[in-house]
Symmetry: C3
Subunit: 316 residues, 3 copies
């Protein structure tokens, strides 16, 4: 078996070259019928995915579980620190070694940046970062890219606006990093001044010559873009509630705003009110499809990592 | 495939005609050997059941899980509101759309009446109401009917007493509705005056000409009935603890009371002390069988709904 | 099928003869490749393991889950009393009868000694004690013995030191009981005076003529032993914190202490600091292997009990 995809673990989208991303998106596309339960699959029969969720996350956890089970495998796991030996004083390293003995791959969610990388260095099985603090959430980025490609047919040559909390939102950081790998992409960052895209991300884009524009309302860019990627603004981020209430409206998308336009709307979910529900039944709504796309994309990741792992190849 | 059973979802026992109930009971009967693990089954291989338990319920949740797994399928889910995005402010509609993307059918438990109906209207997959507030719990009713039929051989022509909290107990409401579909059934309602059967239920029975009698102790009817369906009286229902203690004894069933009689005792469980444990080793005890019967009946429901769903038929 | 292994349930290691232990260890050895996911297995396809964890335990629960799933079966369960009907006042007996209806074998964890035995007496399916209070944890003992045999090649003729909290630690009690079945074993008990091995255990060893020596520091015995079985000393056991801090150091194992010696170090895990992490990358470290060994040993137990159960043989 030729290993086209070389990563043993998925820690950061920055570890990906464009061909690695394309490989996963192609695999995901081939797995759609299984993801939709139109076909049955035994690919990962007998394999176990270890879910190490030190911090709860329903959407990410459930989509990894469905992905593993659609491929014929099964899962074990913890849903929070409370429910594991870490609460008795065990080190994360020891907890990870235990999980390694019981699993063929690990999914890690932790509130601290770097935990997934740390674990991937001490275990032999593949590790998938499912969100570490303000750091990375690379599989979310892969499913975001998959959604754009599936809905528009390409990622090159697009104008994409990222909206909302660009300072703390890890999905928009990873997505910006990844879009920098594509040709002729133009980015628009729509955020209040308190929540602007961090300098490191802008610096990376400058290095790659990716053009970007920072604005502070959706109106300013709505006529120019192909994709509107919306994220939530948490009022806790504002010291002053009045300030929050004043700016909030500029970051809410609704049906009227998009009338006659050819733009797709995405959101990593859960949403609160930053996308009006009157958009749900329009052609702009791609956020529910995006949620479903977690399944084929995570299936592609699980299949690729587990089958590439030398432990598994032993079987053949 | 001819769709004899027409319901897409199971929301209320009131949506059932007698032939729909009979269809599920027949299917359940055919699945008994698989439910008892005497035979193996791949019928729902690759399929995922989404368990949306906004309110905890061990017995219902575990029996749905076993039913799905005995059929070769698998499950994902949440066990309480606490463990899902609803706690972050996500709407139930959005949570349901997420689950729809990851599952082939949904089981809903919620403290508010109407939530299952609401969700069944916005998703394409089958929805099963597993208890919504004081509303319906239709799969419990189906397994109650299955137990009566399996133990006595028929449901027509029986005299059935419902005992305990008839005011708030949703199982006794649904069961009364369903028994109204059978021929020559006589009902006895045994409850303290504070917890009598609601007028709406009596009204329905009047319309269908089902004879019923309201009494306030088990003694009054114990010589007449074929089935004693016991439910728990919660002392919280009484403003006055003395009142509760005074009447409590009249609603406890024990071995002595049933000596020489040919009556079966049922209970949706869990019981506290309303059935004395000295009944456990008598022929009257059908409540443990009834608990097991949840498996073949829920298997029949899952198999029927998932295989009838157009999404699935696509596969063939 | 000849039933070489006669136990219906696994409640206490004291119920085992040496040939019963040897049978399980042999079976475990044959299942290693499946445990390591190098081979796939359908042995327990369609079977359900009921996990009744009235008290949380990540390591034990996850290893039972992986074991069942590697054998092609599946699991249902509760993770604490909080999440089950017992919190509504249901008796443990009723909860067990419910689980019996949904499962092919039960694993019980409870804070009270004797609960597993009680349940095994009222259900027809096999019951496995996964730790009951200060009582037994027999499957831990079996995996401890398996680890010794796999690493050293034999159990007979060894010198084994048990270190730490010998008074309250159920793993060291069960292990002492079991080692008494082997030939020419010498035991060393290393504990502070507050946490010495209970008289009952010593009494049993005397009856079987197993030589043992009680000491109060690792240094005294480190040159003599083949196995160092370390357990945690909880500071809560000491009324006086000064006393705890004074003695603590004598029960910590590190790399320097073992230099040039041919001793393996084991630990039931989780560890806090009683084994220094500088031992992790030495040949002495067998505690991570021991953690993995939970899988083949529990697979052997599940396979043997479920296939021996008359309920299952019915299938053939």
């Amino acid at each position: 078996m030729i290993k086209i995809f070389k990563l043993k673990s998925i820690i950061s989208i920055k570890d990906f070259e464009r061909k690695d991303i394309d490989y996963i998106l192609d695999e995901a596309s081939k797995l759609e019928d299984i993801a939709k339960s139109k076909e049955c699959c035994d690919e990962l029969k007998g394999k176990i995915l270890g879910l190490m969720f030190f911090e709860p996350s329903t959407r990410t956890r459930l989509s990894f579980e469905t992905s593993m089970k659609r491929l014929g495998g099964n899962c074990i796991g913890i849903e929070s620190t409370r429910s594991c030996s870490v609460s008795k004083g065990e080190s994360i390293a020891d907890t990870a070694k235990m999980f390694e003995g019981y699993s063929d791959a690990l999914v890690i969610r932790h509130e601290l940046e770097g935990v997934s990388k740390f674990i991937s260095d001490i275990v032999d099985v593949p590790v998938i970062n499912a969100g570490d603090g303000a750091g990375q959430h690379p599989t979310q980025t892969l499913l975001d890219l998959y959604t754009i490609k599936k809905e528009i047919g390409q990622i090159d040559n697009l104008k994409i606006a990222l909206v909302g909390d660009l300072k703390f939102g890890r999905t928009v950081h990873s997505l910006s990093n990844a879009l920098g790998l594509y040709d002729n992409v133009e980015l628009y960052f729509v955020a209040p001044k308190e929540l602007k895209m961090p300098q490191e991300v802008l610096h990376d884009l400058n290095k790659k010559n990716i053009p970007y524009t920072e604005v502070d309302s959706i109106e300013e860019i709505i006529d120019k873009v192909d994709v509107l990627y919306v994220t939530r603004i948490q009022k806790e981020r504002f010291g002053d509630l009045d300030e929050y209430l004043k700016i909030k409206g500029a970051y809410i998308v609704n049906k009227k705003m998009l009338e006659g336009k050819d733009v797709i709307v995405m959101h990593p979910l859960p949403r609160i009110d930053e996308i009006a529900t009157d958009l749900d039944n329009t052609k702009h709504n791609k956020y529910f499809n995006q949620a479903f796309n977690a399944v084929p994309v995570r299936m592609a990741i699980l299949k690729t990592l587990i089958k590439n792992n030398p432990k598994w190849n032993h079987m053949e």
